[in-house]
Assembly symmetry: C2
Homo-oligomer: 214 residues x 2
DNA sequence: CACTATAACGCCACTCAGTGGCATAAACCT
DNA sequence: AGGTTTATGCCACTGAGTGGCGTTATAGTG
């Protein structure tokens, strides 16, 4: 949510959105500095001048606020595939394009840093990692609904292909994100999209990878 | 852990294993009956006549005890791929065989029921679902280590194929488990292995699934 | 510009998961 | 049997998350 989009919302909504963003930013900074478990919710709420009760009206858990950046990305992804033109392509390029396009449209200001902190925190905080994976699975299910509504594919109980293709895309995306977040060179939006392209390209070859003993 | 394997352990280990099993069985029954959140740890510990402190020496969290059946399955899987003969096959059939073989060697008595209850609980308990996914990811990483040690494949940072193949296998396995656990007909070990074979067979076709608008 | 309706917020008390510390008891070893 | 090691029980404590309710701020209306 950029400042521009914000202006044409009612005052009440505007304040809510600002509080939400302040919580995300402050949480990411504090967690990164002192560790996820090293910061209590009370401290976070103090820093944002918010009551703990209000925190739980905005986020469902402590993990939820730290996972918000990637979650927002997934939400935008769902919105994209709701209307994207398949133009005769197979499912995997379709999903890859959707991801690339969504990343391209994310807010310019500070987006990269937020996702990066989110990923690095998740990498060393089991409960956060678990939460992100759970959210991601919810998204996958919703995406499955959207795609099977829009396109002419057999239902999941008869044919697991759509489901499997989605899971592959998610796996490829995760692998790209992981390598990107661990990159010692400053990760940029461009380096992320490059990694995504590469990983998706590697998918078909993965099926036939031969196993020769060392 | 069967009663047979149990006998040649020292008394101390035997007791620990029995307590652990009692905790799993009682937890699954209680959670199924009154819901995961409807049972407190104190109640569970009372039922097994164990102090809460001892519970946390056996399991890392409330979720952990309910996820133990599938976790045990994954541990056995790791053990299997440590020594399984690839016999020239590609990675996917190799992993499929490993899973089938592991399922075949699980304890006869009550194993199906435990896994079933675990899966059905995870299906309607977000925190449990999240925990299982996290554990599963830990396993995937370990499997990656084992395979890249045993076989002659490029390291992950240069080539994501091994990693992607593992993720696909996990996705296929999950899909099989999900359909199996939701089966209105009594799920058996045979019906599970059949589903696994079918889902793995569908993987190559998933890559090229065409998207034609309805 | 009031005036009412409607959300959001703050505060307080409470439940329950999870942890640290230490005393006790059980199993192991010789 | 006697001393050592290792598991257990108990108690007090922290911190996440929830329910209830009074208060404040925004929205909608004459």
């Amino acid at each position: 949510m950029t400042e521009d989009e914000l202006r044409d919302l009612p005052l009440r909504e505007r304040k809510k959105a600002r509080t939400r963003q302040a919580l995300i930013d402050t949480a990411l900074e504090l967690f990164t500095e002192r560790g996820f478990d090293g910061v209590t919710l009370d401290e976070l709420c103090d820093a944002v001048e918010i009551s703990k009760r209000t925190f739980f009206r905005t986020f469902t858990s402590k993990e939820d606020v730290a996972g918000a950046p990637t979650h927002d990305l997934w939400i935008a992804f769902l919105d994209d595939i709701e209307s994207r033109d398949p133009s005769g392509a197979a499912i995997l390029p379709f999903l890859c394009d959707a991801l690339l396009s969504v990343i391209d449209r994310m807010p310019a200001e500070g987006w990269t840093r937020r996702v990066l902190l989110n990923l690095r925190l998740a990498d060393k905080t089991p409960s956060l990692d678990a939460h992100c994976r759970y959210l991601c699975d919810l998204i996958t299910r919703t995406a499955l609904d959207i795609l099977s509504r829009r396109f002419d594919v057999p239902p999941e109980r008869d044919d697991p292909r759509l489901r499997l293709a989605l899971d592959m895309a998610v796996a490829a995306f995760h692998h790209a994100l992981e390598g990107w977040a661990a990159d010692p060179a400053e990760p940029t939006r461009a380096s992320l999209t490059a990694r995504i392209r590469d990983t998706f390209a590697a998918v078909p070859g993965a099926l036939t990878l031969p196993l020769t003993p060392r």
